[in-house]
């Protein structure tokens, strides 16, 4: 059984309060009194007009990579990158996964959202984060295998995030193919009609740049980085 969300939000807050008074350093609700580590993951959307789908975060050990350049996207990643649905992505039951979390709403341009992941303290702890650029065919941002093992409680690390192309749906920008507000079209489709490997995204063309069939306009263009990621160990 995975130690899935042993600390609820409420008891987590309690833990913090107690810890700050020096009475307790471990989570009080944990039966076997194992030491816990908890990380706050905050993503800020730096794009002009690309809402990010609800964030998906995984905490895992060193043996897990959610994607690699040149490798085919997993089914969970395809569903996330084409439709913004993280449910398959975060329900991977691989043994190396410690816990997962997902956001409740999209993260609009200029907005931020924070997820918290908590698991038994381990010598190696890594974070994977992913989110779709919803006004695209299959672009996503994130990081996989970000090592947070060396963070002390209260310490943060931050980085900016690139844009990847899942390679599972052609970047045709056509009406009916883009789930975001630019189109309201289809999200996930199991057909893989692109290169079928993950790479950096080439960007969108848009109707303002002479591609008359595109439902995107110039406001949907983007460049790297698309978002800022801050990870803070809070316990």
């Amino acid at each position: 059984m995975k130690p899935f969300n042993i600390c609820t939000l409420k008891s987590g807050a309690l833990c913090l309060m107690l810890a700050s008074t020096g009475l307790l350093t471990a989570c009080g609700s944990d039966d076997d009194a194992a030491e816990m580590a908890s990380f706050e993951i905050t993503v800020t959307n730096l794009s002009a007009n690309q809402p990010l789908s609800p964030l998906a975060a995984l905490l895992h050990d060193a043996d897990y990579k959610a994607w690699s350049i040149g490798g085919a996207a997993s089914d969970g990643l395809e569903v996330l990158a084409e439709g913004g649905d993280s449910s398959t992505f975060i329900s991977d039951d691989a043994a190396m996964l410690m816990t997962s979390a997902s956001g409740s709403a999209p993260v609009g341009p200029g907005a931020s959202d924070t997820l918290t992941v908590t698991a038994d303290l381990a010598s190696v702890m890594q974070i994977t984060l992913a989110s779709m650029l919803v006004n695209t065919n299959d672009a996503f941002t994130g990081t996989t295998g970000l090592d947070v093992s060396d963070l002390s409680v209260g310490e943060s690390m931050n980085q900016t995030l690139p844009i990847y192309d899942a390679g599972t749906e052609a970047n045709d920008e056509m009406a009916g193919t883009i789930p975001g507000p630019a189109d309201g079209g289809e999200g996930f489709n199991a057909v893989r009609d692109d290169v079928d490997f993950v790479a950096r995204h080439p960007g969108v063309v848009t109707q303002n740049d002479g591609y008359s069939s595109s439902v995107l306009d110039e406001s949907h263009r983007f460049d790297s980085p698309i978002a800022r990621l801050v990870v803070t160990r809070v316990k």
Partner: protein
């Protein structure tokens, strides 16, 4: 016995202060969705030379690499003291693929440079200019941008006349480009080496202004990742 143990320690101490003689592994990954790299030129050298420099005119040896992927002139122009790897892939480096790990004993060379043409472009190349090889052992990751050599008009017309040696893009190895384009432009406003502005492209595969496909052959920087392991 004590004396023989001491003797090798002396040059070692001297060498570490000079940061000489590194054994390094280099691996290049093409990060792009739809661009090929021509054969890689990986060169360790000193600060006395470089393969290219932004804001400067491309050398006569860089030009044929950037316009046609040929490394012959770069190899010929390379100092005898440089330690190079020429075309370690043995072919084009396809999108989202990695080169083999290249091992170099760099000798007295403390700078690392890498170039390869980006296809399909007129004179775009991926480049690393005189990166200082760290003296401390470890793994280092460097991300590379795409540059414009400034030597050829970016008309985006695929032109195999004269083996691609004429003005024009010699090839789109993915086989996913168009034909009969009228040309994007006839001028090159910056004739120095500079950051490439990207392909314009279009979605007309039988005409239009460009033979490259704007949905496939554009890119955002960085276009390559280099992992250097100092041993």
């Amino acid at each position: 016995m004590k004396i023989t143990a001491l003797i090798p320690a002396l040059p070692l101490a001297f060498m570490s202060s000079m940061a000489f003689s590194q054994n390094i592994d280099v691996q290049v990954t093409n990060l792009t969705h739809g661009l090929h790299f021509t054969p890689l030129f990986i060169s360790s050298h000193t600060s006395a030379s470089n393969l290219f420099e932004v804001g400067q005119t491309a050398s006569a040896a860089l030009k044929p690499m950037a316009e046609g992927g040929s490394l012959d002139a770069l190899v010929a122009a390379s100092s005898a003291d440089n330690v190079n790897s020429v075309n370690p892939v043995g072919a084009l480096l396809a999108p989202a693929t990695s080169s083999p790990v290249v091992s170099l004993d760099t000798g007295a060379n403390d700078k690392l440079s890498i170039v390869a043409m980006v296809l399909p472009t007129n004179d775009g190349f991926v480049g690393l200019d005189s990166w200082t090889i760290p003296s401390e052992a470890g793994s280092y990751t460097v991300y590379l941008n795409a540059y414009d050599a400034g030597t050829e008009v970016n008309d985006e017309v695929i032109d195999t006349v004269n083996g691609g040696g004429d003005d024009g893009i010699p090839a789109a190895p993915g086989g996913d480009a168009g034909m009969n384009a009228t040309g994007v432009t006839t001028t090159e406003s910056n004739t120095m080496v500079h950051i490439h502005r990207g392909n314009l492209g279009d979605t007309d595969l039988t005409g239009g202004v460009s033979d490259v496909d704007s949905r496939i052959h554009r890119w955002l920087n960085p276009v390559a990742k280099v992992v250097v392991t100092v041993k």
